[in-house]
Amino acid sequence: MKSNKEKSLYPMWFVIPSLIIFGVFFLWPIITSLYYSLTVWNFETAKFCGLDNYKLFFSEHAMSSSVVHTLIYAFGTSILKVVIAFFIAIFLTSKIRTKDFIRSAVFFPNLVSMVAVGLSFAYMMHPTKGLLNSVIQFFGGNPVDFLGNPALALFSIIMVDVWKGLSISVVIYIAGIQSIDKTYYEAASIDGATSWQQIKSITLPLLAPSQNSIIILSLIGGLRSFELIWTMTGGGPGFATDVLASVIYKQYAAGFYGLSTAGNVVMLILISLIAFPLQHFLNKREEAIQ
């Protein structure tokens, strides 16, 4: 009886502080933003307007197209990171001499601030003076307008994001690979498995937990991405690289606070709709393997 009482006391008091912080700083803002997204508000008044903000958000091409761009951006960066980082990690855990140096070189882009990366790549991708085009022209190619061509601009930014964000995924993979018991590989090589078969049948399945973290992290990061796009194109040319976050920022800057709040709610719902089922699915997959 006594031990039971102690058990129930202990977690309650431990949870309350974080529950209060969560409630005040996370739960309450979410609820109020739901209300304010249904109003036209400024810092003094709020006028209820029903679903008008949402209707406007989805009826105007400049804003609704941002949902598509966000999805392309998030899935594009996430898939590339998951795949490329896997091979880099395999390479960096194999028996090579300059392993330590290459590991730091791969991690280096992550130490630079997003804004600095965005600005430097915007200069490098300049249509006439940029480094990339100088190289292309040196080898006899035609200059490419990486950020000024609406068909290319979003993909140019995705490439930069992958360059910068790859390292975190590589580190997670390396940690995962190193925790795999070496005896599996020994047993497999005695049985005559090639290294590709070892990667496919031992490394890949046992890496599932690391891979799941990478997928979730990079996908959510991609869905709410802002700084890189803002510094490289500002959402332009026209609206070709506008994502949810940049549209929300622009509406806020224009003084359309209600519309901007509605955009935030749309973003919250979009992220939840993608992240929760995905997490569920990935957990299932992980359990199945184990």
């Binding site: 400049a62 000024g148 800057a253």
Partner: protein
């Protein structure tokens, strides 16, 4: 003994020194006051700095300036600061429609009873007056949204200043045939791409005198008013004449391109003139003409009122700001400003003549439009409504990624959003 005499003498000198110092301090009534200001780089220029130094010399106040990053980032910052009551003592911001967005009656001091207001001309005053209250004082001269061009190219090919849009396009073709870059487009700094559209308003107003009123009421639309639609389709005519780095070029690139003659024309606000002329070999190489319309006899200029100084209503240093601005509009300070920095256009101070050192582009080319009465204030001084995605649309049309009709229709929707926000009932 000698040391004692010396120390007594030194004490005497020091004692005499103290009253002299305090007498100087009394002549400078604002010694020790530091005024905070928020302004963009174009406003906090060499001329403004020179006048501020002179003011520190004469009145004693010091200045601390925060730089406005410009464009929509700047708008965002200042709107947030107005809303959160976190303003400097005074600041520089647009006059006209953008002033409405700042909710001026709440944030800024009504300066209509200050003497200096009598010096400002009516066109300027109407751009900073809301419900009878005057909020702003002009930071600089007027300016125009016009074509700044490199004259030696015109002389070399024997071209004339065009008075119609067709003549202008023909000139561009001739320049392109001669291997020159006819037009500079700065897609890397989107605000600047609006100038052709906004500067074409003289021609819209000439064809449809009621456009501003009907547009404000929501009855006239860009997509359905032929003269207004023309402002958008003009971009289409120029797509083939632009610089190679059109999507990334910035306004600073544009200053250099026109100053060195790397490109011939640039649709831009004439606030860039002082910066272009500072780089040019010969100030007379640079000229200005208004955006051409369809009537050769009615070629006019769309005029912008200058950025204005606004005074924080809750500032503790209102007297010092008042004294500084009184000083700013004295003949000597105005001369100092325009001689140091140059002018963007004719001055909006009544009875004041720009000094001889100001370039011919302003004193001859632009002044001619004013003398003939062929100028009209830009739409943003006549109507409070301006769509917020204007600069994205003009960039997209300018780069040939969108047709003029599409952009006009999108802009109409965008204006509706702004109108609703300002409390207009548009259908």
């Amino acid at each position: 003994m000698n040391k004692k005499v010396l120390s007594v003498a030194l004490c005497g000198v020091m004692a005499m020194g103290i009253p002299t110092v305090s007498a100087v301090a009394e002549e400078k009534p604002y010694e020790g006051v530091t005024l905070t200001m928020w302004a963009g780089n174009a406003e906090y220029n060499e001329g403004t700095k020179a006048v501020m130094e002179a003011a520190t010399e004469a009145l004693g106040m010091e200045f601390q300036v925060e730089i406005n990053p410009g464009g929509s980032e700047g708008d965002n910052i200042i709107k947030t600061r107005v809303a959160s009551n976190d303003l400097p003592d005074f600041l520089c911001y647009n006059s006209g429609s953008k002033l409405y967005d700042l909710n001026p009656s709440r944030a800024f001091l009504d300066i209509s009873d200050w003497d200096m207001v009598e010096k400002f001309d009516d066109a300027f005053l109407s751009s900073v007056t809301i419900d009878g209250a005057v909020y702003g004082a002009p930071q600089s001269s007027t300016q125009a949204g016009a074509v700044i061009y490199y004259k030696p190219d015109y002389e070399e090919l024997g071209l004339e200043v065009p008075h119609t849009w067709d003549e202008f396009v023909a000139n561009c073709q001739a320049l392109a045939d001669a291997g020159k870059t006819p037009i500079y487009f700065t897609g890397g700094e989107t605000w600047a791409t609006q100038v052709l559209f906004l500067g074409d308003y003289y021609n819209v107003a000439a064809a449809e005198p009621d456009f501003a009123e009907n547009y404000t009421n929501g009855t006239a639309k860009y997509a359905s008013t032929p003269a207004a639609l023309r402002s958008w389709t003009k971009y289409e005519d120029l797509v083939d004449f632009l610089n190679a780095d059109k999507s990334a070029a910035t306004v600073s690139d544009g200053n250099l391109a026109i100053a060195y003659g790397d490109a011939t024309h640039w649709f831009i606000l004439t606030q860039q003139l002082p910066m272009i002329i500072a780089e040019a070999d010969n100030p007379d190489d640079i000229g200005v003409f208004g955006v051409p319309g369809d009537d050769a006899d009615n070629h006019g200029l769309t005029v912008w009122e200058p950025m204005s100084f606004y005074v924080n209503k809750d500032s503790e240093n209102i007297d010092a700001v008042h004294a500084f601005l009184d000083f700013y509009y004295s003949e000597e300070a105005l001369d100092l400003y325009f001689e140091t920095y140059g002018a963007n256009g004719p001055s909006c101070i009544k009875g004041y003549e720009l000094p001889e050192s100001v370039c011919n582009a302003v004193r001859v080319d632009m002044q001619a439009y004013f003398d003939e009465g062929k100028n009209t204030p830009a739409l943003e001084y006549v109507s409070p409504i301006k769509g917020t995605t204007c600069e994205q649309l003009t960039t997209a049309v300018g780069l040939g990624q969108m047709s003029g009709e599409e952009a006009a229709a999108a802009y109409d929707d965008d204006c509706k959003k702004s109108a609703v926000q300002l409390g207009y009932e548009w259908e």
